[in-house]
Amino acid sequence: MVLKVFFPSCCSSAESGILIGRWLSEQSSAVILAVVHFPFIPVQVKQYLSEVQRVTKVSVSVLGSWSNSKQEKEESLSEFLEDLGTIFSHEPWIQISKEGDSKFWSCSTLQKHSNNPKKEEIILVYYDQRKVMLSHLHPPLDTTTSSDPEAEDASKLSAIFDTVARSKILFMTDRYDDGPIKLTHWQSEGVEASIIVELMKQASVPACMLLAFLLSLISGVCRSRVLKFWPLSFLWSKLSTCEQLGHRLQHLQVISSNKKAQNQTQLVRKANIFVSLLIDVALGILLMSWIYRKNRIGHLADTLIPAADHVAEELQDLLQWLMGAPAGLKMNRALDQVLGRFFLYHIHLWISYIHLMSPFIEMILWYVGLSACLGLTVALCILSDIIALLTFHIYCFYVYGARLYCLKIYGLSSLWRLFRGKKWNVLRQRVDSCSYDLDQLFIGTLLFTILLFLLPTTALYYLVFTLLRLLVVVVQGLIHLLVDLIDSLPLYSIILRLCRSYRLAAGVKFRVLEQQDGKPLRLLMQINPLSYGSVVQTYRLPTYSCYPKDSWTSLCKKLFLGELIYPWKHKGEKQD
């Protein structure tokens, strides 16, 4: 098989020495991690390697020799390097030599125990060690299902990435250190570290502990019995603000937990939650500073009551229109008047309550607006709740209209069955024939005709109020969609993909470098970053709301039958 040698590009200018790395025999590839320079004592090298192997669980061994001669080839050095092959027995023993500044290296293998000494082809693949070490490979979706160790063979690339990533301890010692082993690897070019990151890491521990303490206090208060009485708990479950606050509290608990993140996924998740919270609070504070400037709260409060009045007036006009001859249809006068007056009185009550509250509106708005500093999502949820509260009378009208219509439809269907001489068998859940008495049939037919002729009136009221309710639901739904988007967007991953795209790898790409006859094939392995769509899909944060479960046909069916619809169901709520 073709022998593949993965050589780190940082070792291209290293001085002569021996190569250490990992040999993957099933793929016939050698992943070179570092170069050990002369002078060294073979026993110490073996000891060091076995210790590294014990810590990292990666089978690191001496793979071959590397000679970088500035002048012409030295014969004695090459013999010395061949003799090294006998000390560190490795099959096959790889010898790479570079002359002067030539780009084209000669690479050969020594096979001692091979049955056919055919010269096999060698491919030299250069890779950027630091980027491969920091990168996280995202396998294509069909291979994520099998996570057993045997599947590691199927993906050569993940084995290579794994090898480099787990050998971090090897990269700690350098050739400038005073030790028995002098290595060259990516750190030899200069150690990179950021002071800010280190300081933040040090400061994060006490900050997390403080945050955890505060959160335990808050959650203790929330869980207390006082808040669990029936009217209050019902109110909390209906207000979306409380759900959002609970969701954010959960996020804070995840961040401030003192358990270290187990693996890469959890760490990225924590980072995503942290950045999302930060941006949310920043936008919220921006919004708050904009609202509180120039007394906008006062203006808002001043326009709120007239707006509610205006809505009530429009509704009254609508009801007057329905009580007349709407769209030229002729309604049943008596029922029309009853329903119309009933709804008009309702609106009148509602307006009186709003006027009762009007002196306190500005103060309430001012204090409620302060909670926008908890985040933009909280502010949007408050807006959605205010809309729900202001249009509560539309919701009431919809429920009355729907219940009335539903009763009528059920009555009609049952009496229609009676009209045809059939009955609904509850036990068998089917329609059976039944013989009715004459007086039963008479009264049934009378009621059927009454209900049938009253149907247009009820249906019209139901239609009008359902449309109004759907409008409010659509507006609330859009606001919740926006809140969901802010909640679930993995901002840290997107910024990482923008700035350090090599950390999120979808795969690799190879570039063929200049070739020379007789020398091995030279390839450059670069990291192929993940696309933005896959980044969002992989690292999405889970949210608490789910989208409407009903399909369009079942929604239409419910509307036709007059069943109440709850389009935006939250997870954990019982289905009606």
Binding site: M1, V2, K4, S28, N116, K118, E120, E121, I123, V125, D142, T143, S146, A151, D153, A154, S155, K156, L157, G507, V508, K509, F510, V512, Q515, P520, L521, L523, N528
Partner: protein
């Protein structure tokens, strides 16, 4: 390295370039016809004439600036996301197959498939709009079923070469893929 001219399925002239880097590494690149100046100017003139017509009707100068904006943004989107200049296939025996598409704006989108996942490279027939065309595709191995195919990756989708060009590419790929069947016995 050699270059030969062929025709695509719709009749446009394309060029196939073959390079042999080593005994087990080959690169096959198909170059699509470039963006023509006359089609570009025709589209731009049509959009601007329509905008000018709207301007005469509505007396609103925003229409003209909107038309310029739309033309510029549309051109950038077309060059960066739609127009493919060159599609190439790099076959490295025992490593894998790399499929690259180069867009007119210089963007390159690459996908690398490891040799362990490749079952075979075949020429298939497909019904595309009102025609039946031949296309080259890579069959990916199903990890659970050794005889099964889990996915089909079509190649040269934008340039759509005809059968004669596809046969050349197919022969080159098969020469390298055959090596992996004979290789395990020799090591």
């Amino acid at each position: 390295m050699e270059e030969r001219r062929y025709r695509s399925a719709s009749g446009a002239p394309i060029a196939l370039r073959r390079r042999q880097h080593s005994a087990s590494c080959r690169e096959l690149a198909v170059r699509c016809p470039r963006l023509q100046l006359r089609s570009l100017s025709a589209t731009t003139s049509a959009v601007w004439l329509a905008a000018y017509g709207l301007f005469v009707l509505s007396e609103n100068s925003m229409v003209l600036s909107a038309a310029i904006f739309i033309t510029l943004i549309g051109l950038i989107i077309y060059l960066h996301f739609v127009k493919i200049d060159q599609e190439s296939l790099l076959v490295i025996g025992s490593l894998g197959i790399q499929v690259t598409s180069c867009y007119a704006s210089g963007k390159e989108s690459t996908a690398f498939i490891e040799m362990g996942r490749v079952k075979d490279v075949v020429i298939n027939e497909a019904i595309h709009m009102q025609k039946v065309i031949y296309y080259l595709c890579i069959l990916l191995q199903d990890p659970g079923d050794p005889q099964g195919v889990s996915e089909v990756v079509p190649l040269f989708q934008s340039s759509k070469p005809r059968l004669d060009c596809l046969i050349e590419v197919y022969k080159s790929c098969q020469e390298i893929l055959e090596q992996r069947k004979t290789a395990p016995q020799s090591s």
